[in-house]
């Protein structure tokens, strides 16, 4: 492979950090969800890279990546349903205003 392993890991780390920043700083709940999707993808890149570079014969990395994609699908479905339900009830999707757990 022509590309050093470290590059891949650095790109994945950068993507993860972008996602983390999105999850931490977006006001809108859907924006938070987008950030989480980015983080999941960063993790997936790592899994596949480790498969390709460290254990190219075993398929574990790919399998795990597929599981993560499955989880992401479930997360998106449930998360969006919650957001829609919250929007209906509270007429907002701003995370700061969804503080029913407050105290």
């Amino acid at each position: 492979m022509g590309i050093p392993l470290y590059w891949w890991l650095a790109v994945a780390a950068a993507l993860f950090c972008l996602g983390l920043y999105g999850a931490l700083s977006r006001k809108n709940a859907i924006g938070v969800l987008l950030g989480i999707e980015l983080m999941l993808n960063a993790v997936n890149i790592n899994l596949v890279v480790f498969w390709r570079y460290i254990t190219p014969q075993a398929l574990t990395g790919q399998i795990f990546a597929m599981f993560v994609i499955g989880i992401a699908a479930a997360e998106a479905a449930a998360g969006l349903a919650i957001i829609i339900a919250a929007y209906r009830q509270r007429d907002t999707v701003v995370v700061d205003e969804l503080d029913m757990m407050h105290w």
């Binding site: 983390l20 931490l24 700083s25 938070v32 995370v95 503080d99 029913m100 757990m101 407050h102 105290w103």
Partner: protein, 720 residues
């Protein structure tokens, strides 16, 4: 015959399937649901008995090595976590009892929950679903091959106990049942109490399992009990003890919670807030048996390198058992609630089993577990029958009471569980009284009833062990506690019989009570048969067959005491005399007890009786020593936050800011200054908001804190 072994997975699977089917599909059809539950447990029973037969036929090899099956659970990198099922002599012995007693209880419940009647429980189908899951949990534990699967089943049981004990916390108040807020509240609290109290034990057990896995890398019983593994575990030290002892004590902690040993016994008496079949299930076949079974199963860990000082695991088992025997039996003397007496009796009898295990006697403990399961299920179902009879009497009374008793119709103090309001029921309930009497004699331990053989085996083993050394050791302790326990047991059971079935009715309801239907009395009779003959399964004059059946399993580790005890006439004679004396004393004292009188025991014991009546104030002690401090601490933290430090500080800061603003306003009222003042105020305001950030209720704040914390932890890990 061997083919039955391959059906082992179905033993826990059928009740589990029944649970799933009822919850998902049939919960609207009550009759179908309960029939599915009963069908599931019946199939389990059939297979389980087939397995028992196969184990008997299979000879020594089958009993020692058994049959096993392993399923890869989660392949993670290099290691694979397996779960599996296994059957050996010990499991087979349990498999004989558990599904059958469950079956009896299920059949009984169908009548108890008033199937098809007007006052049928509104959550009838759900009840059977929970019961099935409960049975599945216990059966899973029995056939577990490793601690992982055992723990899963263990937790399933914990969940079910919570759901079932608190079953009536959702009771629909529109039905005809005379149910009040207080009872609903009690049921709720009892469920929570059981869950939390056993949860304490579960945490210990989980810690023990985790330790075990970190030391050995396996959780399979058979691999754990290899002599090399045990020796290696003995070499390691942890907290000044061999690691194996620490692990054994942690596992015992789990058993203390589940099997209601002192000091975690407090949940068991409250557990009778659930429907009576649940009490029977918990006290006989499942919940409390689980702890005993787990200790028996992991006995090699307890025995490895046993001595009194550096590796005292077994010693503690015996001590806790002895304390529990005396504690349960003495409290049982002073209770008025018929089920509560039985509950404390269970605690006391559990103590016997633990004592037996504490002597290293796996077999004696399990034999007592088996016999006790039959007669305690019998007693509880009998008590349920009595209570139902009383309720019926109360119901009938309000419809056609004779004129002179009209005022008692609005009798608010009526309590169907109160023994002091019963009396003379042997005439009203002739088909309940005989099984109940059988159960009592078995519990008290009179030959030839089941309890006699199993209890005297424990005492005999202790006595023989003591004679061997003549030292003041746990053998002596067990023997003394056990013998005193026999007398106390006889005393409270004598009192109960006299109060419930003899004497004259002390409440109109008791006079009007009538017999329960067949669905309830037939299981009683079947169980009574077992209470009568069950003990012969391990009678010494038959050569202690169960002994040979189970003893082989732990022989591989060469550590466990597996020799069958000789029948000892001194021990047997002594306990028989004490038992008869106790029964007679209880009966004589309470035979002529009249409503409203001071109890005989209270007369003789005075303040001691009050202590017993209040259960040694243990609940109050817990309230004082644990619950209140925690609440107090929470209050203090709250106060710290809102009353004393943070909020006042914020307010103070704001006040200072305002004051400063005022001063500058007075000092220099020119508009330019307001800019600065406002800036200061805003800064303080921001500071105030900052200080409150810890309590924002906003997910993203918390998330940020999490990230920062993780970052700091990583930093610590890297540079320290």
């Amino acid at each position: 015959m061997g083919f039955f072994f391959n059906l082992t997975p179905f033993v826990p699977l059928f009740p589990l399937l029944a649970f799933a089917v009822i919850i998902l599909f049939t919960h609207r059809n009550n009759r179908l649901s309960s029939n599915i539950a009963i069908g599931g447990i019946t199939l389990s029973t059939v297979i389980a008995w087939g397995i028992v037969a196969a184990t008997i036929a299979g000879g020594e090899r089958t009993r020692t090595e058994g049959w096993q099956l392993s399923i890869p659970w989660l392949p993670a990198g290099t290691s694979v976590l397996d779960i599996g099922l296994a059957v050996d002599g010990l499991s087979a012995a349990m498999l004989f009892m558990v599904p059958f007693v469950c079956l009896m209880i299920f059949i009984y419940s169908q009548g108890y929950m008033n199937l098809g009647k007007a006052n049928q429980d509104p959550r009838y189908a759900r009840f059977f679903a929970y019961m099935s899951l409960f049975a599945a949990g216990m059966l899973g534990l029995v056939v577990a091959r490793d601690l992982l699967f055992a723990f899963i089943s263990w937790e399933v049981m914990g969940l079910c106990s919570y759901l079932l004990i608190g079953f009536w916390s959702f009771r629909n108040r529109n039905t005809e049942d005379h149910i009040d807020e207080a009872q609903v509240d009690r049921a709720k609290k009892a469920g929570l109490k059981a869950f939390i109290t056993t949860g304490i034990g579960d945490v210990l057990l989980l810690a023990g399992i985790a330790l075990l896995y970190s030391y050995t890398g396996t959780l399979t019983f058979r691999e754990l009990f290899q002599p090399e593994t045990l020796a290696a575990l003995q070499q390691q030290t942890l907290l000044g003890m061999p690691a194996v002892t620490v692990i054994a004590l942690l596992i015992f902690g789990g058993a203390v919670g589940k099997s209601a040993q002192f000091p975690l016994h407090v949940w068991l008496p409250d557990a009778m807030e659930g429907p009576t079949p649940v009490s029977a299930l918990i006290h006989a076949a499942t919940m409390v048996a689980a702890g005993v079974y787990l200790v028996a199963r992991t006995m090699p860990l307890f025995i490895a390198g046993f001595d009194y000082t550096s590796a005292p695991a077994l010693y503690w088992v015996a001590i806790i058992g002895a304390i529990t025997v005396l504690l349960g039996a003495t409290i049982g003397l002073a209770q008025d609630d018929i089920k509560r007496v039985l509950a404390y009796s269970t605690i006391s009898q559990l103590g016997y089993r633990m004592m037996g295990l504490g002597l290293g006697g796996v077999v004696v403990g399990i034999v007592h577990l088996l016999t006790h399961a039959f007669f305690k299920a019998l007693l509880f179902l009998g008590a349920g029958s009595v209570i139902h009879g009383m309720e019926h009497g109360h119901h009938a009374m309000s419809h056609h009471a004779p004129g002179d008793l009209a005022e008692s119709r609005e009798d608010e103090s009526f309590n169907a569980n109160d023994m002091k309001q019963m009396g003379g029921l042997r005439h009203r309930m002739p088909r309940t009284v005989w099984p109940y009497l059988f159960g009592t004699l078995a519990l008290v331990g009179l030959a030839p009833f089941a309890g006699f053989w199993s209890k005297d085996e424990i005492l005999g083993e202790a006595f023989v062990g003591w004679q061997h050394t003549l030292a003041i050791d746990h053998h002596l302790l067990v023997w003394l506690a056990g013998t005193v326990g026999v007398f106390l047991t006889a005393l409270y059971m004598g009192r109960q019989l006299a109060l419930v079935f003899w004497g004259r009715p002390r409440h109109q309801a008791a006079a009007q009570a009538h017999e329960s239907p067949n669905s309830r009395t037939v299981p009683l009779m079947i169980l009574a048969g077992f209470a009568l003959v069950g003990g012969f399964a391990n009678a010494p004059f038959l050569g202690s067959p169960l002994h040979h059946f189970m003893a082989d399993i732990h022989q591989a580790s060469h550590l466990v005491n597996v020799a069958a005890t000789e029948f000892n006439f001194v021990v047997a004679g002594m306990s028989t005399i004490l038992a008869v004396t106790g029964l007679l004393a209880g009966w004589l004292l309470y035979r002529n007890y009249q409503a409203g009188q001071v109890e005989p025991f209270k007369r003789y014991l005075g303040p001691v009786f009050t202590v017993l009546e209040r259960k040694y104030y243990i609940d109050e002690f817990y309230q004082l020593a644990i619950v209140q401090p925690v609440v107090w601490l929470a209050d203090q933290v709250f106060n710290f936050d809102y009353r004393w430090v943070i909020d006042p500080f914020v307010n103070l800061v704001a006040a200072i800011g305002r004051w400063a603003a005022d001063i500058s306003g007075v000092f220099d009222s020119v508009a330019i200054d307001t800019f600065l003042v406002e800036g200061v105020a805003r800064a303080f305001n921001a500071a105030g908001r900052w200080l409150r950030y810890t309590q924002t209720g906003r997910v993203q704040n918390y998330l940020l804190v999490v990230v920062v914390t993780v970052l700091m932890l990583v930093g610590l890990y890297l540079y320290l």
